[in-house]
């Protein structure tokens, strides 16, 4: 059997399936346990205890261990060695103040204090020429001091090491010779892009989490072995692909967003099975909604990633390949409240799982999005958390009443208004990944999942005029499902500023070939049994501009340039008749790990009528107020068609179908929602 475990801050999920003799999925299993911070591996091992360890043929694992160590500052005591004259680069950062009008602004504190940031004499220039070899004797005193300070990890980041890592390697070797036990991270192993602050930050954060990640991976691997699991786990990375435990331990920041990307993977598998090539995804949970765009079933992978960055905080850059995901603070637990000027806001404050929405009856006393769904009749109070709790509708009404009174509207109107605002916020996030990137949603299918995806699916689909909306089967565990269908993937990005023209074509071809060879060597060493393929992308720009566009880089330079001009025009609305420059080479290595498709569902003599459980009054806001038919989604046979007004219920998810819309169940049990014609954004 194949299993995947996804460790979140609150819960650890296990999803798995068994295959029959014909290679089709014969049984799906899901299991949820509490997460066990800080020893997250205990929760995983508890979850895996529920399956037959010896039957496990594939084990994929997504973990928040890296992001947790970073956000809670529970990592190694880290030091930095850098070029003479530049130890303050980490603290100056970029000097920016996104919180423009806040003159009491506090910039983020560096992960390494100044006395542990040490300099050595050495220098490489922008062309990669070594001007001065490192004065390695200076490391003696530095290592002595670091030992005395109890340093556990050393980051090394030297100027222009992306262009030539010779000095950095020499420093790394000397550090290793002088202090074999300490954990060392060289920038050239972690990030080969220019911009010294970003690269230093990436290396430092990687060094900071390296020891804790290694301990976690060791302890997980040995625990699994003790349980009898014979395969080595694959780790989910932020780029949406899996990697081996060994590779993950060497470059732990590659796992910084190991969970969120997996929903995108699930959507890609779904899209390829259904022949849907252009997808947008929205994953609505309790606290946040996450959006991504997957044009041509290719996730957008960039290295523009930060932790703790907000509209007012610069955060910390980590230049590691990450699937581009926009996350906003709006989910089921988001709290509705008025600000000082009387403006109604929904989120980002969340009632979380505890106390949760008022309707949970666990002490929640503020109006939330989930309560609004209850009060509009869209969610049935008896279907909360899979029916595990009996919802307290009266409590939800009481909690809404004071706010409704202040605004001079009925509780019902307020509930519909709260949902309209939540939809507007989520639509804005979807717009950021689609329209703002130059894509037309009418060319895309929206895949809506997470516990709340199906509630907002139609409204969001129509707000942006998506072609249609799909709510996958088991939407609440769709992310974990994505891990089961992941492939091996590693991304290698290297800065190499070169004009893109015929004269430089051989140079560029050679540079790509070199990078591919190194990449295949490295991945091949870790995974000798997997057949590997390479693909090439490049970050290109017009000479003189700073910002780049990532485009496929075929061997034919003319085709690469044509692709760039087109992509630039899509993203920025114009193209220039001007020289084009390559900034970064980007090679992706992939290897198939044999995931299976979603199994088809059987009719089992079920019928639309048999799935119908009754009717209730539902407020569909602009689409009116009236009796809607209620269905048990799991009982709907393949091919079933439902016309709105209707509500389709299942464990931990509810699909809202306003009047005039159609839902069709496909052979795999996914719901295809047809939106109202002529919908305007």
């Amino acid at each position: 059997m194949r299993i995947a475990t996804d460790v979140g801050g609150t819960f650890t999920d296990l999803v798995g399936y068994e295959l029959d003799g014909g290679g089709r999925i014969s049984r799906l299993v899901t299991h949820k346990v509490d997460s066990t911070p800080p020893a997250f591996e205990r929760g995983v091992l508890e979850a895996t205890r529920t399956v037959d360890a010896r039957a496990v043929r594939f084990f994929a694992h997504g973990s928040t261990v890296v992001i947790n160590a970073l956000l809670s500052r529970q990592g190694a005591k880290t030091a930095l060695v850098t070029t003479r004259g530049f130890r303050d680069v980490l603290e100056i950062a970029r000097g920016n103040r996104p919180d423009l009008f806040n003159f009491a602004f506090r910039k983020p504190r560096p992960f390494v204090p100044r006395h542990l940031r040490r300099e050595i004499d050495e220098r490489t220039d922008a062309d990669g020429q070594v001007i001065r070899a490192p004065a390695l004797e200076g490391l003696r005193e530095i290592v002595d001091d670091f030992r005395e300070e109890g340093v556990e990890a050393i980051a090394v980041c030297l100027l222009h090491a992306y262009a030539n890592d010779a000095n950095e390697r020499a420093v790394g070797a000397e550090l290793r010779r002088r202090w074999p036990e300490v954990s060392i991270a060289l920038s050239s192993d972690i990030c080969r892009e220019w911009r010294e602050y970003e690269r230093t930050s990436t290396t430092v954060l990687s060094a900071f989490v390296q020891p804790v990640t290694s301990r976690y991976l060791d302890s997980l691997a040995s625990g699994l072995r003790r349980q009898g699991v014979s395969v080595t786990p694959f780790m989910l990375q932020s780029n949406g692909g899996a990697t081996t435990v060994a590779a993950a331990a060497r470059n732990p920041v590659s796992m910084v967003e190991s969970g969120p990307a997996s929903g995108v993977l699930g959507a890609i598998e779904l899209g390829s099975a259904l022949g849907e090539r252009n997808l947008a995804t929205i994953d609505i949970g309790g606290t946040t909604a996450k959006c991504a765009l997957v044009p041509g079933l290719e996730p957008r992978v960039t290295t523009d990633y930060f932790i703790e960055k907000t509209a007012t905080e610069p955060g910390y850059p980590i230049k590691t390949p990450v699937v581009e995901i926009v996350e906003i603070g709006s989910g089921g637990g988001s709290v509705a409240a008025l600000d000082a000027g009387g403006k109604l806001r929904v989120g980002p404050e969340s009632a979380g799982a505890v106390p949760g929405p008022a309707v949970y009856g666990r002490g929640g006393d503020r109006p939330t999005t989930t309560d609004a769904h209850i009060l509009t009749g869209r969610i049935d109070a008896s279907n909360l958390l899979g029916g595990r709790i009996a919802g307290d509708v009266e409590r939800a009404r009481r909690v809404f009443a004071p706010l409704a009174k202040t605004l001079g509207v009925t509780v019902g109107a307020l509930a519909a208004g709260v949902l309209r605002i939540a939809n507007a916020d989520m639509a804005t996030a979807l717009k950021l990944v689609s329209i703002d990137k130059g894509y037309d949603p009418r060319d895309f299918t929206l895949v809506a999942f997470g516990g709340g995806g199906a509630l907002h699916a139609v409204a969001l689909g129509e707000a942006l005029r998506f072609r249609k909306v799909i709510v996958p089967r088991n939407p609440a565990v769709f992310s974990a499902w994505g891990m089961l269908v992941t492939d091996l993937r590693r991304d290698f990005v290297q800065t190499r500023i070169t004009p893109v023209d015929d004269a430089n074509a051989p140079l560029l071809a050679a540079a790509f070939a070199d990078l591919e060879r190194d990449a295949l060597d490295e991945v091949g060493r870790d995974s000798p049994d997997v057949a590997l393929t390479c693909s090439r992308h490049a970050d290109l720009r017009y000479r003189g501009q700073e910002h780049t566009v990532k485009v496929p880089f075929p061997k034919d330079t003319g085709a690469a340039l044509a692709g760039f001009h087109e992509a630039h025009e899509r993203a920025y609305s114009f193209r220039l008749d001007q020289a084009v420059e390559l900034v970064n080479l980007h090679v992706t290595v992939r290897g198939a790990l044999g995931g299976a498709h979603h199994p088809a569902i059987a009719a089992n003599g079920s019928s639309v009528e048999g799935a119908r459980t009754g009717t209730r009054r539902v407020d569909f806001d602009d689409d009116g107020h009236g009796e809607a038919a209620i269905y048990r989604r799991a009982k709907l046979p393949p091919g079933a068609e439902i016309a709105g007004p209707a509500i389709l219920e299942e464990d931990a998810s509810t699909c809202v179908l306003p009047p005039g819309r159609l839902a069709r169940v496909d052979d795999y049990g996914h719901l295809h929602l047809t939106l109202a014609p002529g919908t305007e954004s």
Binding site: G85, F86, D88, V89, E91, I92, A93, R94, G95, N96, R97, P98, D99, L100, F101, N102, F103, A104, F105, R106, K107, P113, R114, H115, D125, A126, L159, H160, Y162, W194, R195, E196, E198, T312, D339, G341, G342, K343, L344, L407, G408, V409, A413, G417, R420, I421, A424, T428, K431, D436, I497, G544, Q545, E546, H547, Y572, S573, F574, Q578, E680
Partner: protein, 554 residues
């Protein structure tokens, strides 16, 4: 609140998102690093009367410029504003102008043949011609030397580009591709804004939009009034000195009196010296923009920009002063006096609003232009950048080190690895210094040293570092900060000291050392906890001598 109020709410959000979107579009398509790295630009939407509904800012100093440009457009063209028109202006003295480098584009938006809104953008173009490469200079004496003037004219008329104007620009600037690239980036950003505004009108109709827009402005006013009620009432004053105008004039006296009432916030700059001969003059809209910036920092730092929030603000200043210069006064380094518009109000109120206003910062943009020869083509290469420095300590916090000045904002430094790739310099050092200044119970943030070793023939440096003679102020017994200054270390060993330089020749092997000030301290340094003094020593933020002499360390 009627049910319809939820629709208004959704429209408010959409308008805010449009401001962000066009700001992103502008910064990502611009050709000039000063736009895309320094974010010396702003974009916004106004209603048909010129009231700002939504604005994206990279710096705080353009808050009053977009609406002023729209109102000037209405005044000048009135009924002659047609669909497909696009207006351009950089007039410093009216129309929201600041200096010639900042160019504003105004696009009227028509819905069902009625003028319903404007989209405006303003950005600092690296080159607009004039007497010196990079256009802003410290030795101009008249606006005519500072570049090409666009006196609010139509760049496009009913959709047709005024080709004559384009040719004129091409002929008058040194880097025409870059300048015109910035022009088209601005046009593209305005067009994105127009499309989004029209989508909203198409969906909700003009009447609902009008309602929503008005209610947004009222909301801004309400939020600020609520905050005003919490501020201390009375009149608060401050004065200061500007060291010089780049031509040997000065020092200049500047002052402000701030009066806070329940429903009004008045800033009076009467008493400030007359305009200078050199280019440090601010014009009225430049001053008003900065006054709005500090007003907002005090009353509503986290509220999205809209015109309603400035209704309680009243600004008084006679014409012809350093803050209200008249034609043809030079204004190309206007930010040097403009910084004092912010700093005076700040200084007057800091003792009374300590949670929002720390001690004085290094204040100056510390703008530099380093001209060298392009490493690839041998042509002109201009490194134009502001520098980061130290901010003042506040009540309960040390100052921030290595941040851009208050007038800047989401401004990014240029990475050393990028600088060395593009320009013929080798960066020898980029880090904090330990010059005296800023000691206190809470310590001022550290200033920065940046060393450029020149590796080019025919290189020169233009730079203007304010607060060179008069460092920033401490609070409650904290020390004043350290000065911003320039050193040239000649290859032969001679060291020159400057506060500003104009096209100063520098030779291969010379080192240009740029030093920004440490921020002012807060409270008596003797009261700084000993553990923190020890920590500062260990981290090298202070020297042993400073620990003894300033902090009484033994």
């Amino acid at each position: 609140m009627s049910a319809d109020a939820f629709t208004k709410e959704v429209i408010h959000r959409a308008l805010g998102a449009v401001g962000e979107e066009i700001f992103a579009a502008l910064k990502r398509t611009s050709m000039s690093p000063i736009i895309y790295e320094t974010l010396d630009c702003a974009v916004g939407i106004t209603d048909a009367r010129g009231e700002v509904l939504s604005q994206g800012n990279g710096v705080i100093t353009f808050l009053g410029t977009l609406d002023a440009a729209v109102r000037s457009t209405l005044d000048k063209f009135g009924g002659d504003i047609e669909p497909g028109d696009l207006f351009i202006t950089n007039d410093p003295y009216e129309g929201g102008g600041t200096h010639l480098s900042d160019v504003t584009l105004v696009l009227p938006v028509f819905h069902e043949e009625r003028l319903v809104a404007f989209v405006a953008s303003k950005a600092h173009w690296t080159e607009v011609g004039g007497m010196a490469p990079g256009s802003f200079t410290t030795d101009s004496t008249e606006v005519y030397q500072e570049g090409l003037q666009f006196p609010l004219v139509k760049l496009m008329e009913r959709g047709a580009v005024n080709q004559a104007l384009i040719e004129l620009i091409r002929a008058n600037v040194r880097l025409p591709d870059q300048t015109l690239g910035d022009l088209w980036a601005g046009v593209a950003a305005n067009r994105v804004g127009e499309a989004r505004v029209l989508e909203l009108f198409g969906r909700y109709g003009a009447a609902t939009m009008r309602d929503a827009m008005d209610s947004l402005l009222d909301y801004g006013e309400r939020m600020v009034l609520a905050e005003l009620k919490r501020l201390p009432k009375g009149t608060f004053t401050a004065s200061d000195s500007i060291g010089g105008d780049g031509l040997g004039g000065g020092p200049y006296h500047v002052e402000a009196a701030v009066t806070i009432e329940d429903d009004r916030f008045t800033i009076d700059f009467t008493g400030t010296d007359p305009q200078a001969a050199g280019s440090i003059n601010t014009t009225r809209t430049g001053m008003e923009s900065r006054a709005r910036g500090i007003f907002r920092a005090i009353t509503a730092p986290h509220l999205a920009t809209n015109g309603g929030m400035f209704r309680p603000l009243r600004i008084l200043a006679p014409d012809g002063t350093l803050f209200t210069a008249r034609r043809p006064a030079p204004t190309s380094t206007y930010w040097e006096s403009g910084g004092f518009v912010i700093d005076l109000v700040w200084k007057a109120l800091a003792p009374h609003v300590p949670d929002r206003l720390p001690a004085g910062s290094f204040l100056s943009v510390c703008a530099t232009i380093l001209k060298s020869e392009d490493p690839d083509s041998g042509g002109l290469s201009l490194l134009v950048e502001p520098l980061a420095g130290g901010w003042g300590a506040g009540c309960g916090k040390d100052g921030e080190s290595g941040q851009f000045c208050p007038g800047n904002g989401d401004t990014y430094n240029i990475p050393v690895e990028v600088t060395e790739r593009r320009h013929r310099v080798l960066v020898r050092r980029y880090g904090f210094h330990t010059e005296d200044g800023g000691a206190g119970r809470y310590r001022g943030g550290k200033g920065v040293v940046l060393d450029y070793e020149i590796d080019s023939e025919n290189a020169w440096l233009t730079a203007i570092f304010g607060r060179n003679r008069f460092p920033c102020w401490g609070l409650e017994g904290g020390q004043d900060g350290s000065p911003n200054r320039i050193e040239i270390h000649r290859k032969g060993g001679r060291i020159e000291h400057h506060g500003s330089v104009t096209r100063l020749p520098v030779a291969r092997g010379d080192v240009v050392r740029l030093i920004t000030g440490t921020g002012g301290g807060f409270g008596d340094p003797q009261e700084r906890p000993r553990t923190l003094v020890a920590e500062d020593l260990r981290n090298g933020y202070i020297t042993e001598r400073q620990a003894r002499e300033h902090y009484g360390w033994s």
